[in-house]
């Protein structure tokens, strides 16, 4: 039931997630933050049962912290972070799977551009990993992926990216059965 929307722009990424937390017919709260900051330069939008959201994001972020303490000065690139996440999901799949669908977005310094570049990865609960320019997890994909297909282009500014995410949220508001009144939006950039 969760909607996670991610868009890459020139110099960073934006991830938006709905803030509802519901089980069966009851909504527990409207203010749940489903976007975890797992590293100084990376954010992870998660969808799934609350216990798995928390245990997966905490496992990843604490291990990344351990890595940065054990290897001072060596920051993990977003690509390496994504690989680590994927490996965790894949190993757990046959033992006790994390039922989380995620979008990982990160910023890396780049020789090509002084603003650096953003990268976004689509991670499935079965351990599939795909680098994407934009992505959506949840039922929201049925409605909003076409909006992103139509509007996304290379070299977007942050404001344009936010506008596109806004359009996605409006489509959900109009056509999605579940009411999602609040969204949390975070970005990773310089």
């Amino acid at each position: 039931m969760d909607s996670i929307i991610g868009v890459k722009y020139n110099g960073g990424v934006i991830i938006a997630a709905d803030s509802n937390n519901a089980r069966s017919i009851l909504v527990y709260q409207h203010n749940l933050d489903k976007i975890a900051q797992i590293a100084p330069n990376a954010i992870l939008g998660l969808s799934g049962p609350n216990a798995d959201l928390v245990s997966f994001s905490e496992y990843i972020s604490k291990n990344l912290k351990l890595y940065s303490l054990s290897n001072p000065g060596q920051d993990l690139s977003t690509k390496a972070t994504a690989s680590f996440c994927r490996n965790t999901l894949a190993v757990a799949l046959r033992k006790g799977p994390y039922q989380v669908q995620t979008l990982l977005g990160g910023w890396d310094a780049s020789p090509a551009s002084e603003d650096g570049e953003g990268s976004m990865y689509f991670l499935d609960y079965m351990g599939s990993l795909q680098k994407v320019n934009y992505g959506i997890q949840g039922y929201a994909s049925n409605f909003a992926l076409s909006v992103l297909d139509r509007e996304w282009k290379e070299g977007l500014t942050k404001e344009e990216a936010i506008k596109i995410v806004d359009n996605c949220i409006n489509v959900l508001d109009t056509r999605f059965l579940i009411s999602q009144p609040t969204f949390t939006i975070k970005s990773a950039s310089k």
Binding site: N21, I25, L26, Y28, Q29, N31, L32, P49, N50, A51, V54, S55, G96
Partner: protein, 279 residues
């Protein structure tokens, strides 16, 4: 009981056969051992627990010979003067009312309260276990445990028994250095932090009244009244809730029990109040 070495090929087909098996591991011998939680001596303990001790929520246990005690309305909310915790006291096994006097608020320590919803045995056992862990924390760290940490300990315990069919929906609440705090912890290791929760079969009815009249700036008397009324309305509509309304108030110096009132008396009190208003 003696310890048993080696594999067993016996797979018990009914609950009555369980007691005749010997466990294949050593039980705790003295107080310094970590207490073992006995797991059925079968090929797949998790599957066995899930199917024979089915979740004590909804009607998943209707095929079972022994049904679990469940059915509840519990609620807790945070306001400027602390936290109100208000519960009913009915326990049902299928259509049978097993008890009208169950204590669904568990006094973990003088500063922490836990509520009971779901399986009564699971709630009281694991919250008592939590009390033990909190006391160990105090002894090791020379300070009282925070509500966030206490609820995390409980959630971690639930996480390790995932898939074993435990049923527990509890609210852990108390007043620590960061102020009054309220957490909801669940048998599938969900842990949520907010100002207002209601758990149980009657929770939807309680939410109706609670959401309509809740304000953070309620006075203590208004908050007690709201907690009382929300439980009353839930017990009125939900068949599985009833008995006595037990209400506690958590303040900076610990919790106090405010009242224990039969909800039937509340029914006539509120009815008379409405009649007076109309007249």
């Amino acid at each position: 009981m003696t310890s048993f070495v080696g594999e067993t090929s016996f797979n018990p087909n009914s609950l009555l056969e369980i007691g005749s098996r010997k466990p294949n591991f050593q039980l705790a011998n003295d107080l310094t051992d970590d207490a073992n939680f006995l797991i059925p001596n079968v090929q797949d303990p998790a599957f066995f627990c899930r199917t024979n001790f089915a979740s004590a929520s909804g009607d998943k246990d209707k095929e079972q010979l022994v049904k679990f005690a469940k059915g509840t309305t519990t609620l807790a909310f945070k306001f400027n003067e602390g936290i109100i915790v208000s519960v009913d006291s009915r326990s049902t096994m299928g259509a049978y009312i097993a008890s009208q006097t169950v204590k669904k608020i568990i006094e973990i320590n003088p500063f922490l309260l836990g509520t009971m919803a779901g399986g009564a045995a699971d709630c009281s056992y694991w919250e008592r276990n939590l009390g033990m862990q909190c006391r160990l924390y105090e002894l090791r760290n020379k300070k009282r445990i925070s509500v966030a940490a206490a609820s995390k300990l409980l959630a971690n315990t639930m996480n390790s028994y995932r898939g074993y069919g435990l049923s527990m929906g509890t609210m852990v609440t108390g007043w620590d250095e960061t102020g009054p705090q309220l957490y909801y912890v669940d048998n599938d290791a969900t842990r949520l932090h907010d100002n207002l929760f209601s758990v149980g079969s009657g929770s939807t009815y309680a939410y109706g009244v609670l959401d309509t009249f809740y304000r953070p700036d309620l006075t203590v008397d208004e908050a007690i009244d709201l907690g009382k009324r929300a439980i009353y309305h839930a017990t009125h509509r939900d068949a599985y809730s009833g008995g006595i309304n037990n209400l506690y108030h958590v303040k900076a110096d610990g919790w106090t029990k405010i009242h224990a009132i039969d909800v039937n008396e509340l029914h006539y009190e509120f009815r008379d109040e409405k009649n007076e208003m109309v007249a």
